[in-house]
């Protein structure tokens, strides 16, 4: 019973309760590993005023693009919004969306810290740059550092290749990217996955995300925007 309860019958069911104002992380990088079915479901659901965390801000209407087009996003934390993020860029230029630009590795690390119960850390990345603005600076063992805060979210939308019925996940090649770390950093992690196999069918040595980090799953054929 416990084992079945994570599997949702449809993408729409998996995102049916996302409220206005929710914070959501989205996996994906370079066109690979985006939870595009979940994103489309969220577009249909229409939740507004979202605070999102994602490496980039979509490509045309693809990936996060549709959520910007629908004006569902109030604030975004990203490392590289991207030249193809036309809807985001348009709203950014008009001050209609708030952006926190974060170095990509630090974005990963802030999420990992949240998942790992580490509220803050000192890092040399961004010292002396715009990124250091309003951050505490301190020299640690001779190295200038700034204090970075961990970052979590209400939801993580991620894409995995294969899951077992418990929620253990494996990924495929470069589509792994941000997905595993986001799974650790959200209160509710929702996974779209190509295939769900029986418990025990995945080799315990190769599971990348243990099921403890996974709360909802839905099977969906991968959607890609190139």
């Amino acid at each position: 019973m416990t084992q079945q309860s994570k599997i949702f019958p449809s993408v729409d069911a998996a995102v049916a309760d996302i409220p206005d104002g929710a914070s959501i992380m989205f996996g994906g990088f370079g066109g690979a590993g985006f939870p595009n079915n979940l994103i489309q479901g969220l577009a249909r659901k229409g939740s507004k005023n979202l605070a999102v965390i994602s490496n980039n801000c979509g490509t045309g209407e693809g990936e996060l693009g549709i959520l910007f087009k629908n004006r569902q996003i109030r604030r975004v934390t990203a490392a590289f919004p991207g030249p193809g993020a036309t809807y985001f860029q348009e709203q950014f230029d008009k001050n209609e969306v708030e952006l926190e630009l974060v170095p990509q590795g630090i974005l990963c690390e802030r999420m990992r810290a949240h998942g790992a119960g580490i509220p803050a850390f000192f890092s040399p990345v961004g010292v002396g740059t715009d990124v250091a603005k309003n951050k505490e600076e301190r020299v640690i063992r001779g190295r200038r550092c700034i204090l970075e805060q961990s970052i979590g979210a209400d939801y993580a939308f991620i894409k995995a290749f294969r899951a077992d019925k418990l929620g253990n996940l494996v990924f495929r090649k470069g589509a792994r990217n941000f997905n595993p770390v986001m799974a650790t950093a959200a209160k509710t992690t929702i996974v779209e996955v190509e295939e769900i196999v029986e418990v025990g069918a995945l080799d315990p040595e190769v599971i990348v995300t243990p099921f403890v980090f996974v709360h909802r799953m839905v099977v969906a054929k991968g959607l890609r925007y190139v």
């Binding site: 990203a78 590795g105 990963c108 690390e109 010292v127 470069g174 941000f178």
Partner: protein
């Protein structure tokens, strides 16, 4: 100055000579990304990508693309034997933690003390984007910047002090441009090579920061076009 400078491909080919055999290397967008095609015969280099790949091979052939296997520029690539996949945060353990031998980034400005500005042109429209550049610049054991020596409108990019938004302080080891190879040393900028047909004085005139050199400065390798 209407003498021919090196092309972007020739800059990349010269930068490729800086890669030691066996090195783990990250390449940024633009000219750095071209470097992969110019690794000398007999030298094996393992290319790293921020999305969690070590051991990227050449671009995938048409019809053989796997869009789950892309480089940081979203281009489908292949793998070499010994490659591995890992998560993005682990890819940045490698960048920030000083585990990559050489990283090559593009540049908008480099200062005489090795500060790098490469992610945003002041006053340009749009949000800009940092990507992995700050983590890479801070952590690289050796950081090479490849860029044109001057901007399209003739502005000098190797400066006393960057006035563009910075990527990282005192991070650049070597600059490879269409006119010169320059090392950043504790004493300032050292002109190691000049483009064929150029004199050190001509390079200095196109460089805001002071260049140190003495005697005859060797010519840069310029790959056959």
């Amino acid at each position: 100055m209407s003498k021919p400078r090196l092309t972007r491909e020739q800059i990349a080919a010269r930068a490729a000579l800086e890669l030691p055999d066996g090195a783990c290397v990250n390449l940024g967008w633009g000219i750095p990304n071209l470097t992969a095609a110019y690794v000398p015969k007999g030298v094996t280099v393992y290319f790293h990508s921020e999305n969690g790949v070590l051991g990227m091979g050449p671009r995938a052939a048409k019809g053989e693309e796997d869009f789950d296997l892309v480089d940081a520029m979203k281009v489908p690539v292949t793998l070499v034997p010994g490659a591995s996949f890992f998560a993005q945060e682990d890819a940045h353990v490698m960048t920030r933690g000083g585990h990559l031998d050489v990283c090559i980034l593009g540049g908008l400005q480099v200062s005489e003390r090795g500060d790098l500005a490469n992610w945003r042109v002041p006053g340009a429209r749009g949000a800009g984007g940092i990507g992995g550049a700050m983590d890479i610049a801070v952590g690289a054991r050796r950081l090479i910047v490849t860029m044109e020596h001057t901007s399209k409108d003739g502005a000098r990019k190797i400066v006393k002090r960057c006035d563009y938004p910075l990527t990282a302080l005192e991070c650049v080891n070597t600059i490879v441009t269409d006119l010169a190879v320059i090392d950043v040393t504790s004493d300032g900028l050292s002109l190691r090579e000049v483009a064929p047909g150029f004199t050190p004085e001509e390079i200095q005139s196109l460089t805001e920061a002071e260049l140190h050199y003495s005697g005859k400065v060797p010519e840069m390798f310029a790959a056959k076009p």
